[in-house]
Symmetry: C2
Amino acid sequence: MSAVQAMTARPVLIGLDWGTTAMRGYLFDARGEVIDSRASSDGIMRLPQAGGFDAAFEAACGQWLESTPDLPVIAAGMVGSAQGWREAPYVDTPADACALVAGIVRVTTARGVCLHIVPGVIERSELPNVMRGEETQIVGALASDAIAGAARTLVGLPGTHAKWAVVRGERIESFHTFMTGELYAALRDHTILGRTMAEPAAPDTQAFLRGVTVAKHAHRAGLLATIFSTRTLGLTGSLATEQQPDYLSGLLIGHELAGLASLLESRGAALASEAPRLIGSAALCERYRLALAEFGCVHASVVEAAAENGLWRIATQAGLVERHATASGR
Amino acid sequence: MSAVQAMTARPVLIGLDWGTTAMRGYLFDARGEVIDSRASSDGIMRLPQAGGFDAAFEAACGQWLESTPDLPVIAAGMVGSAQGWREAPYVDTPADACALVAGIVRVTTARGVCLHIVPGVIERSELPNVMRGEETQIVGALASDAIAGAARTLVGLPGTHAKWAVVRGERIESFHTFMTGELYAALRDHTILGRTMAEPAAPDTQAFLRGVTVAKHAHRAGLLATIFSTRTLGLTGSLATEQQPDYLSGLLIGHELAGLASLLESRGAALASEAPRLIGSAALCERYRLALAEFGCVHASVVEAAAENGLWRIATQAGLVERHATASGR
């Protein structure tokens, strides 16, 4: 959509992707196109000291609501957690958009607007798994051509707490959480491994893939046994200080994917035969694409705008968007 | 030895176990008995701002050297690292006490005393491993009845960077490093897992063993996939906040032992058939003994005073202790 269209298009919905450390706001037109957006660091753990949730909400949406006071608002992510604005209890797997809609909770803002909060999803297996925000991204990914109609899709959401979900038809059937991103940060910033590291000028793909390969071959020895090599390969002069961050990243992502391969195998599937859809930042998804290829999985592809599309789909399914407005929507 | 004996016994050697965060000093008589000792927090990363290594050395040994000025002094541990007082280059595996003696480096203190520093050991495998201090403890353990004469012994040294070494005869043949202790601290203090934890009044063995069992069964999924359960089992009400520290500890130690079992298996050995000798604090060794039993390994036992015995053995083999003094020694 051109700038002129954006300025003239009539907004019909505000969607918020409201996580722990950041918030993104989207203004949608009647076709489900994003005509304006906001990004802020007002995650639920970094709220403004004065005003809290309401102040963060006003900063993101105030101007939009001044222009169009009766806009419906939907939000997904940690804003619905026990530490959020209002808790939206988890929906059990298998979960589809209908179940998410049924689980929406509402909170009224200081301005008198009703904020609709999408619930997270829980899988009550022996080791339970939970997600908040990713369920909405997955619903958004299901809107894309590549997934629509697929009987079964593997969806990967790399990040602080990486998720891998098996989606059957339109339902999130099961998923796992790998604490890869957060563990990487803790190892780099708070253990001896960080002491010999230097930031490279540019990502070192070779060092990254070396880590992936080591993890793949040594997965049964486990991450506790391989990560110390970040230091010892440095001591023996075979890994430069600038290579150590990417090597460690490769080790962790390699162990994640080896673990994923094992989990899939226990369900009769093979990672190499999957065509995973990846949701996340372009740079991180590219890392995963490269790492997946080391496991023989060469058909991974990236889903764009998953959060926006998910918020739109859930809002329309919940009847938040006027019927006539969605006639030409997605 | 009684207090009276200790006061009258003639000292013949000072031994220092000098690590990253702590230092222990031992005063030996001619039979290799410890007649006095010192403990301080003057590890090589926590040296006194004024005076550094020399000030820490004086604080530990000054009084002993005032009484007996010509005492030989031997030290093991990180004091011989590149960040130590003087670097003692690593000795390659397989390494025995002879090789350690041959690798001793010397530094002269401000007092004019010659400090003999025992080198660490390196295994130059595809993923190199290094130890500093543990080689001396292993030599000390070899003095004990249970190991003397054994063709092959598995030695475990739990801690910040846990080591598992295979000793054949008197030689350290190979070893692995598991960053279990440091990873536990990083996860507890610097990730979301710590946020819901409360310290229990007493260690919770049941929660610990639950973690061990989960890790044992889910080892192929990997640690990245299991640790998040510390949080989700809390969310679902099946793991109290006070149980979470021990559960996470059990998870990590369980993954360590499952990885060890896999490494042993690849060399044709079985963890369940081993009778490991454990070196470390009594509480930590007891945790490992319980965890090992979950892997069918029920013959683990604890080695006492390994550092002291190792320093004594290496010093006597290096000829630091007068010949007549050692006649009745170990």
